[in-house]
């Protein structure tokens, strides 16, 4: 009994005052939202580093930002404010930058395709449009 009583304060729940039950499960669209913000930042950074590509990249950055806003709306959350995420400086070579962005768009497309397959009916159309947009970005960056 003495040992058991001594062990109680060591349990994580008591130490952290976690009597409110488990935290709510993260929204399954959260990774898609984070990815949209990261892609928007990636295109914006690349457009800044390579002004010649700005006309090509800015509409794509805007699309990702619009995706993030729509995802936040249907998830019932606010878009993170403050400094936008950056994902490292773009390379100095414009061709390598485009290659890198194409790869990230392909990965993003595949993630959105998987998310669409798993989405409930009321979210499927939005997530499908996001998957399709990312697929068109791969084409637009060729």
């Amino acid at each position: 009994m003495a040992l058991g009583a001594a062990a109680v304060p060591l349990t994580g729940c008591d130490l952290l005052g976690g009597d409110d039950g488990p935290p709510p499960a993260p929204d399954p669209l959260r990774p898609l939202l984070d990815e949209a913000l990261a892609l928007a930042a990636g295109h914006r950074d690349a457009a800044t580093a390579h002004p010649d590509l700005a006309a090509q990249l800015t509409p794509i950055a805007d699309a990702h930002q619009a995706h993030a806003a729509e995802l936040a709306r249907i998830m019932g959350v606010s878009l993170p404010s403050g400094t936008p995420v950056t994902t490292g400086a773009p390379t100095t070579d414009p061709d390598a930058t485009l290659t890198d962005l194409r790869g990230r768009e392909r990965a993003g497309r595949d993630a959105a395709v998987a998310a669409c397959a798993a989405a409930p009916a009321e979210r499927a159309a939005l997530v499908g449009s996001i998957a399709a947009a990312r697929a068109t970005h791969v084409e637009a960056l060729k």
């Binding site: 006309a55 509409p59 794509i60 805007d62 699309a63 619009a66 995706h67 729509e70 497309r109 395709v113 669409c116 397959a117 409930p120 009916a121 009321e122 499927a124 159309a125 939005l126 499908g128 449009s129 996001i130 998957a131 399709a132 947009a133 697929a135 068109t136 970005h137 791969v138 084409e139 637009a140």
Partner: protein
Amino acid sequence: MIERVAPAPGEALGAALTAEYAAIYAYGPIGVRLSGTARTAARQAEAAHRRRRDALVMQLSTTGAAVPADQAGYALPFPITDRASALRLAVEVEERTAAHWRAALAATTGADRDQALDALLDYAVRATRWRKTAGMTPVTVAFPGRPT
């Protein structure tokens, strides 16, 4: 509880089938105004619409859903008089069919939804290719297939 607003799968796929009929019809006048690689691309796009039409007719017949009939002709949104108008219509055809498949996403699950998403991506990418061929900018839209 969220109210179900999506149409039944058969209804949504029937609407997609009607859009495929219209797309195949439109690529007739589009193709004759194009040449070279653009004409080849039009032929390939038309073939993609025919493949999906055939698959839908088979699928709807098998499941006992209503199979909409093809019409002798479909109204084109504007006259096709030259290469520029042909390319503009090709963009519109792909966007419209993409919109019908997008609408089918909410009405379907499993393999049917995969099929609808595959069509949405395919036609959205074709619309972007046609915009590039036509020299339109930007070459993408933020939400392919979403009603504007």
